[in-house]
């Protein structure tokens, strides 16, 4: 009964503290909004193609080539590529350098010379691809002229009929991926769940600072009951804040949290429990304000390498380091659950969180039992 009484006291004291709302609710929501909005482009997998324009100069003497070229320009024109014949004396390369055209092509009896714009690299690459396809077909037609002249019209005509096939596009559709708001909704939520270790590191120290530790210790309540009550209360307070952030991000920002809410909340609860245990354990391992400093430093490093501020790539130095961050485990588990419906991904995170929480809780209990007072 006293465990519940102490846990309830924790809820009352924390929810009436403005700092709880600012730190555990306003802070992650504001960060989510800022980062999710500012870094929208960084999470887009597609690219926008601007106007494509090709300046050309045709000096070829071959009527077949000229005819084929004209058919080609007409065909790509229908695909949205603006083709312009260079005027006499006009420097096509200078025009491309001045960004007036995406590319410049010189067609002669020796072949086609291509100059692409580095500024409009996507547009010039597409045009280059089209030119490559045209050159292949023209070469094929030229070869056929020697062996089977009757086939030539059909080969060249295909450039017109299949004008859209100068560049063919195919892509593999990966699993659904989070957009910027989706990513930061997860990242900020797991970050704030781990920030619970800060309030947990103050659980006993706060009672000492307020001097209420004397009354608690003088009451006929065991150390174990006080400890359990405080851990339960702190975990509930922080989990409710985390759940509120999830709800707010879904309703206000439209963040995608998938459909597996019970398991998703269980992962977050286990992360809060882990954070509370780490905070409490460190507060016993390090005395006074040094515990606070250790927690602050560890939390910031874990947030940084755990992908709280930007996504960490799966390869390289940071990838190895990020695996020590509880936020990384939780982020990965939640992302897979939400975007790939992979519920199995929850179990490693749950196991690590609960296991490490148990280790820190046992350490804290051992330290507490060795001390005379709490």
């Amino acid at each position: 009964m006293n465990v519940i009484r102490i846990a309830w006291k924790e809820l009352l004291v924390n929810f009436r503290d403005m700092r709880t709302f600012v730190f555990m609710l306003a802070f992650p929501i504001v960060l989510m909004l800022i980062l999710g909005t500012a870094l929208t482009n960084a999470f887009q997998s597609g690219a926008t193609v601007g106007e494509m324009s090709l300046l050309y100069r045709n000096t070829a003497s071959s009527p077949q080539l000229t005819e084929a070229w004209n058919e080609f320009t007409a065909a790509i024109g229908r695909e949205g590529v603006k083709t312009v014949a260079a005027a006499a004396g006009e420097d096509g390369r200078a025009d491309v350098r001045d960004n007036r055209y995406s590319a410049y092509a010189e067609v002669s009896d020796d072949g086609i010379r291509f100059y692409g714009s580095t500024r409009d690299s996507i547009e010039s690459s597409i045009i280059q691809g089209m030119l490559g396809a045209f050159a292949d077909r023209y070469n094929l037609a030229a070869a056929a002229l020697k062996e089977d002249p009757a086939a030539v019209p059909a080969i060249l005509a295909s450039a017109d009929a299949d004008s859209g096939s100068f560049v063919s596009e195919s892509s593999l559709t990966p699993d659904r991926q989070p957009g910027s708001m989706g990513y930061y909704a997860i990242a900020m939520t797991t970050m704030i769940a781990f920030y619970s270790c800060m309030s947990a590191s103050n659980l006993i120290r706060g009672e000492r600072t307020r001097k209420t530790i004397v009354r608690l210790s003088a009451a006929p309540v065991g150390k174990g009951a006080i400890f359990a009550g405080k851990v339960i209360g702190c975990t509930i307070v922080n989990f409710l804040c985390v759940a509120a952030v999830v709800l707010f991000s879904k309703l206000a920002f439209g963040a995608d949290w998938g459909t597996h809410y019970p398991l998703l909340l269980l992962v977050l609860l286990s992360e809060v429990l882990l954070a509370v245990s780490v905070g409490l354990g460190v507060s016993y391992l390090f005395k006074g304000d040094s515990a606070r400093s250790v927690i602050m430093i560890f939390t910031q490093i874990a947030s940084f390498v755990g992908g709280a501020y930007f996504p960490i790539e799966d390869v390289g130095f940071f990838s190895g380091i990020s695996n020590i961050s509880p936020m990384r485990w939780a982020n990965e588990a939640l992302t897979k659950m939400i975007y790939a419906d992979n519920l199995q991904a929850a179990w490693p995170a749950l196991g690590l969180n609960v296991g490490i929480a148990a280790v820190f809780l046992i350490a804290a209990i051992l330290f507490m039992r060795r001390q005379e007072a709490l």
Partner: protein, 311 residues
């Protein structure tokens, strides 16, 4: 009947002996004054009585039971009013008292009744839903007391309960202490204010360097001092008055200045009043009155410990 019996109590922190083989009894119905300068060992003793610290040696019995073997019984029967305010600013006055009383096993209607009773007793019955952060220093002190008495302990330990409050609140608290005592509680009271101890305590122990150096009623303690006299001289000076020359006068053992009154302790057998007055005239002090006083507790304390209580 003894409510509290302490036998050969010792507490060491490493090599430092905070409480040194202390023995004392507190009888039922007493307001027992526990006097000592900072670091004398009062708080350590109180913490051992309240089961907050384990003794290195010795025994403490509460109501005839050894507290080390009956920790829960001891805690149930002790209420502690710590020197520092031990309340939650984010909980109302009612919630504070109710929370702590609940830890002593009170439930339901009884918990509510006792909480209201305690708050009424300290004069906060109309502030049930108010938060301590909006209270004056005196109100916080009273709430601090209410949190300790709601479970009706047999022994109440009050550690400097009137520190830093206005005279009106202090009087209220002192009256409350007397009233609690009349209602049957035995009280251990520590204070830096000697006049409080003189006013309310029925028996007093003076602690120094972890030992009890004197114990008895205030009248008994005053009889210990037969070789010291105290002279009060009211003065008016234009500037700061140097006390050092007065200390050099034969027979003078201590001099202090309190609100334009010089308090001089001298050996009883030495007649040095003429020389003291000559010294003050030489220092161009205007003498308003001269009065010889019987020893009070302050004198007793100073004589026994060589220190003022507030040192």
């Amino acid at each position: 009947m003894n409510v509290l019996e302490i036998r050969n109590l010792t507490k060491k922190f490493g090599d430092f002996v905070a409480v040194d083989n202390m023995s004392l009894n507190v009888r039922e119905g007493e307001i027992f004054g526990f006097l000592g300068a900072n670091g004398a060992g009062k708080s350590t003793t109180i913490n051992m009585i309240a089961s907050l610290l384990r003794s290195t040696k010795g025994e403490i019995d509460l109501l005839g039971k050894n507290i080390a073997k009956n920790v829960k019984f001891a805690k149930m029967n002790i209420g502690i009013v710590p020197q520092d305010l031990a309340i939650y600013d984010n909980m109302t006055a009612y919630e504070n008292v109710s929370f702590f009383a609940g830890l002593y096993g009170l439930r339901g209607t009884l918990l509510k009744e006792r909480t209201l009773e305690a708050l009424d007793f300290v004069g906060l019955g109309d502030k049930l839903k108010s938060y301590p952060k909006n209270f004056s220093g005196g109100m916080k002190r009273r709430l601090n007391i209410a949190c300790a008495i709601a479970h009706r302990p047999k022994l109440i330990i009050m550690d400097e309960p009137t520190v830093g409050i206005d005279p009106q609140s202090r009087n209220y608290i002192l009256q409350s202490v007397k009233q609690l005592n009349q209602m049957g509680s035995t009280i251990i009271y520590t204070s830096h204010y000697m006049e409080e101890v003189e006013e309310i305590c029925t028996r007093i122990a003076i602690v120094d360097h972890g030992k009890i150096i004197a114990e008895g009623t205030k009248e008994q303690l005053k009889t210990i001092i037969t070789d010291t006299k105290e002279t009060w001289i009211g003065v008016k000076t234009d500037g700061a008055l140097a006390l050092e020359p007065l200390k050099q006068i034969q027979g003078v053992t201590a001099v202090r200045l309190e609100d334009n009154v010089i308090v001089i302790h001298s050996r009883a057998e030495v007649n040095n009043l003429n020389r003291i007055i000559q010294q003050l005239i030489a220092a161009q002090a205007e003498i308003r009155f001269v009065e010889e006083k019987a020893p009070n507790l302050e004198t007793v304390f100073l004589t026994l410990t060589g220190r003022n209580l507030r040192d």
